[in-house]
């Protein structure tokens, strides 16, 4: 009894019958359909390069136009940012106040986010039982998913009036202040630091922990002296990434930290960041081709370069730490 399936009734000349009598294994047809599809897929992948080219082109063109109308030196060293009215001529375009505002928020948010994020990461990685982790990790994800406008609203409506002003007093804390912005952004980057650091800590081989426990070390000592140092490159990468995110953050700082370009170090005062300046400008009417319009792109270029450098550094650190354990 033959249990072999019968030969199919394929159309004549379509394909020689499989099996048996000298089947030809030569290429049947050119399969152009597949080539077309692969080309289409390739195009999708290359589109990402087009996006980068687009970003760089758009920023570059108008930045160059900006610098043809306003000085590069003033941009890099000037301490007053006061775009002129209307088309913007006659204004001063020194970006140092904006850069200082951005840095204040960046550093401030790290001061808030790093300790909290790191503590959370150590807790989740070394101390928490699976049930607690099962609750805490989604909570962190929710925190990360809150839109920045809403965090900004929270900063304006709660952090400043009910927290900062209550503690430090109405006369010291402005309605818009850098501290509120820092806390808001700090809350937003907390999940980044916590999540990436936790991954880095969990990647530390348990044999290292076991060796330390075996010597009689306590959990605290193992966490602080074995795990954290071993995961240090991952933790550093997460901090740089978080800082980069803080630098690029727009809405929360615009709402909470204010729109006053100034060279202050007082966190209770109102400031303006690079991003907030862009947001503020576009809310008004800006005619294309004017200095005020081009200034947007000069600021954008600054932001792009800052975050690009930080992301590259962070990626380099991540690559190095991945090699250590693989």
């Amino acid at each position: 009894m033959s249990s072999r399936p019968p030969r199919s009734s394929s159309p004549a000349g379509d394909r020689p019958p499989a099996g048996g009598d000298s089947p030809s294994i030569a290429r049947q047809g050119k399969r152009t359909g597949e080539r077309v599809i692969i080309t289409a897929l390739f195009t999708c992948a290359v589109l990402s390069v087009a996006v980068t080219v687009g970003i760089v082109a758009v920023l570059l063109v108008d930045t160059v136009s900006f610098f043809s109308q306003s000085g590069l030196v003033e941009f890099l060293t000037g301490t007053v940012w006061a775009p002129g009215a209307g088309a913007g001529e006659g204004g001063q375009y020194g970006m140092l106040p904006l850069l200082s505002g951005t840095l204040m928020i960046g550093v401030g948010s790290i001061v808030v986010g790093l300790p909290l994020g790191l503590l959370t990461a150590i807790y989740l990685s070394e101390y928490a039982n699976p049930r607690v982790r099962g609750v805490l990790k989604p909570t962190l994800e929710i925190l990360a998913g809150i839109p920045t406008v809403i965090v900004g609203f929270f900063a304006l409506q709660f952090i400043t009036p009910d927290l900062l002003r209550r503690i430090f007093g109405d006369d010291r804390v402005f309605i818009f202040n850098a501290a509120a912005g820092s806390i808001a952004v700090g809350l937003m980057i907390l999940p980044i630091i916590a999540s990436i650091s936790e991954d880095a800590m969990r990647a530390v081989p348990s044999s290292l922990r076991e060796a330390a426990f075996g010597l009689g070390a306590s959990k605290r000592q193992v966490s602080l002296r074995v795990v954290v140092p071993a995961a240090l490159s991952g933790i550093s990468a997460s901090v740089i990434l978080a800082f980069s995110r803080a630098v690029g953050e727009t809405m929360a700082v615009t709402i909470a930290a204010g729109n006053t370009p100034t060279m202050t170090w007082n966190y209770f005062e109102s400031i303006q960041t690079l991003t907030a300046s862009i947001a503020q400008t576009v809310r008004g009417e800006v005619a294309a081709g004017t200095v005020r319009y081009d200034a947007l792109f000069a600021l954008g270029m600054t932001l792009f370069l800052l975050t690009l450098v930080m992301n590259l550094v962070s990626a380099r650190i991540v690559r190095r730490y991945r090699q250590v354990y693989s």
């Binding site: 692969i38 897929l41 758009v58 920045t148 809403i150 409506q157 727009t250 947001a279 975050t307 992301n311």
Partner: protein, 302 residues
């Protein structure tokens, strides 16, 4: 040399025998510190949500139908989110339509077809970098190229394209991970039957990777929906009294409206902003719930 009897006495094994009381205290304090540090984040989130509801709930339930169906107004009591809500919905649908095929296509190419060479490495590095570009810079891209150079103006199309470009890196990463998770044996089995590479990818690999891909895409979209900066920069209107009929029509968005209302001094607008935030959070919750449901129900357990 034998150990002295003292060292081996049973009492030495009890907890604290060799650790001083101080050390035990430090250990416990550290654990408490960790727990408190973790809790701060939780408390902050809870406070945030409480603040939103405390300020917005009354406004919302006072006149829910009106809030949802009115357009904006100078009077906070009459202001509604209609244009913004519908605008966000349209933007989301369009962004999904653009992002999904391009993102999944790029992921398939990079995972299944791309040769291991410098070009591929460059494309991959490029995508990783794009994921870290601030959203406001994407807004500038949208402004300069879509709104102005391609003359789309502050329209639904320009907004959707800007959000698409911003979401692509995230979707590509999610899709690649899902494709990578499909075991090699599936591909080998298909090839051994005489399937071509595309037949294998399209009929076996991709369907198996679809739950993870969809989950990742929905999560990326839910992030895009909460974004304000790019839409602000390309100039989407806040004050608008009509719904879009055409891709080239201007369109508003919910986060934009929240931003505008938050920036106004009147407390009634703050309440309106909070109410709108509740709606936005509900939308996000729904999307995330769908994504998680998909992941739990349809992920293949190999």
């Amino acid at each position: 040399m034998t150990a002295s009897a003292e060292v081996l006495a049973p009492s030495r094994l009890r907890r604290g025998a060799s650790r001083t009381g101080f050390k035990i205290f430090v250990d416990a304090a550290f654990a408490a510190l960790l727990f408190m540090g973790t809790i701060v984040g939780v408390i902050a989130l809870a406070t945030l949500i409480w603040t939103i509801f405390d300020q917005g709930w009354e406004r919302l339930v006072a006149d829910p139908a009106g809030f949802l169906s009115n357009y904006v107004s100078r009077l906070p009591a009459r202001a509604g989110i209609r244009a913004a809500l519908v605008g966000s919905a349209y933007l989301m649908v369009l962004t999904a339509l653009f992002t999904f095929p391009v993102g999944v296509g790029a992921a398939i190419y990079l995972e299944e077809f791309a040769p291991r060479n410098r070009v591929t490495n460059f494309v991959e590095a490029n995508i990783a970098n794009l994921a870290g570009v601030p959203s406001v810079v994407y807004g500038l891209l949208g402004l300069g190229i879509f709104a102005r150079f391609l003359r789309m103006g502050p329209s639904l199309l320009a907004g959707a394209l800007t959000l698409t470009v911003m979401s692509l890196p995230v979707v590509i990463v999610a899709a690649r991970e899902a494709i990578r998770a499909v075991p090699e044996g599936i591909r080998l089995g298909a090839y051994a039957l005489g399937a071509t590479k595309w037949q294998t990818v399209s009929r076996q690999v991709l369907p198996a990777a679809m739950p993870g891909t969809l989950t990742g895409t929905i999560l990326a979209l839910s992030r895009a929906i909460g974004e304000t900066a790019p839409l602000l920069v390309i100039g989407l209107p806040i004050v608008i009294f009509s719904l879009p009929n055409d891709l080239r029509d201007p369109v508003s968005a919910l986060p934009l409206l929240i931003f505008d209302w938050t920036s106004r001094p009147q407390p009634a607008f703050a309440a309106a902003a909070a109410a709108a935030s509740i709606i936005l959070l509900a939308l996000l919750l729904a999307m995330n719930a769908v994504a998680i449901f998909l992941r739990n129900r349809y992920t293949i357990r190999w």
